[in-house]
Symmetry: C2
Subunit: 196 residues, 2 copies
């Protein structure tokens, strides 16, 4: 029994090795290449622990960490959809639900339900933990992109309004302090010609 | 005050972006390239949550997750030292202590102490959490390497004894089930000509 559980858990863990090959629009800071989902999720989990005091409501930090570690798991099948890609975002939900059905089912039944529920919770953005996790998910690429000279905003011709509408309300919903940071980044990026 | 804390926390979090550029000997499963520390730490944090039931003693899962997320932070300065590199391992401790002094001090004072203590705890391998975290740190590259045809063992001419001595006692110290898996991997790798 324990052996069979371990095998199912390893199947899930090794499947998620594929997140190391799902590339995002954000660039890493010190190499000329795009960040992948595993690196992004690593960064979010660390941010969840280090920045927890800034959450708008008290959060269960472990819960947030687990949520951000699997929030992109569906992209193993569904791929990364760029935040400002309207066509890609049209069928994103459908593709991701199908992926969630397959990927979380690799786990033993109790954990399959637990991790699927974590993913649904992240997507719904209703609990304190999900709001904080989503705030981190929005601010992390903004931080990297700003530090990298706004490269992916410039490449895609993103406007100040697009960046603000897509990100700052959701960030502020999870944290006042980090919400203020979101506004500051957009102001600075505008001033420095990174956002139209 | 809150603003200053946030700035210090961001300095630490952005410094650790460099872990995305510290490459290990282990290969990722689905591309022809080495894994980096951020990807490795992502994988360990996820394993900590999914495999916690296999820990030899009950563990505080959040504590294990935080520990594995920062266990390689010192490699930003000290680089990755291959497990079987005797010369590199001779002055590893000294290089890493110096790095720890610098990197954790980027955080606000209370968190600098907290994260430095987590790193020291991981290194000492005495608490239940540190033993389990170290078990994951040893089994993860073995799993990937075995699934990848033993590529890094073959490249470096590693023997069955080296692999067993370096890994399985430490893995077993953190988990009986995962300790048994360590032995199974070594037996299979020997049988399949991946280990000498």
């Amino acid at each position: 029994m324990e052996q069979q559980r371990l095998e199912q858990q390893l199947a899930f863990l090794l499947e998620l090795d594929k997140l190391k090959n799902v590339y995002r629009q954000t660039m890493v800071l010190h190499e000329d290449r795009q960040e992948n989902d595993a690196e992004h999720s690593f960064h979010l989990a660390l941010m969840a622990a280090v920045l927890a005091e800034h959450a708008k409501e008290p959060v269960n930090v472990q819960h947030v960490m687990q949520m951000v570690l699997i929030h992109d798991a569906v992209e193993v099948d569904a791929g990364d959809t760029y935040a400002y890609d309207a066509a890609g975002n049209a069928d994103k939900r459908e593709r991701e639900l199908k992926a969630a059905d397959r990927i979380f089912a690799l786990l033993p039944e109790d954990q399959a339900a637990e991790y699927r529920s974590l993913w649904d919770e992240f997507e719904a953005r209703e609990t304190a933990e999900a709001k904080f996790a989503n705030a981190l998910d929005r601010i992390q690429p903004m931080l990297l992109n700003y530090k990298k000279g706004g490269i992916s905003w410039i490449r895609h011709g993103i406007t100040e309004e697009q960046a603000r509408n897509r990100n700052c309300a959701i960030v502020s919903d999870g944290s006042d302090t980090i919400g203020a940071l979101c506004e500051e980044i957009i102001e600075a990026a505008k001033r420095e010609g990174m956002l139209q």
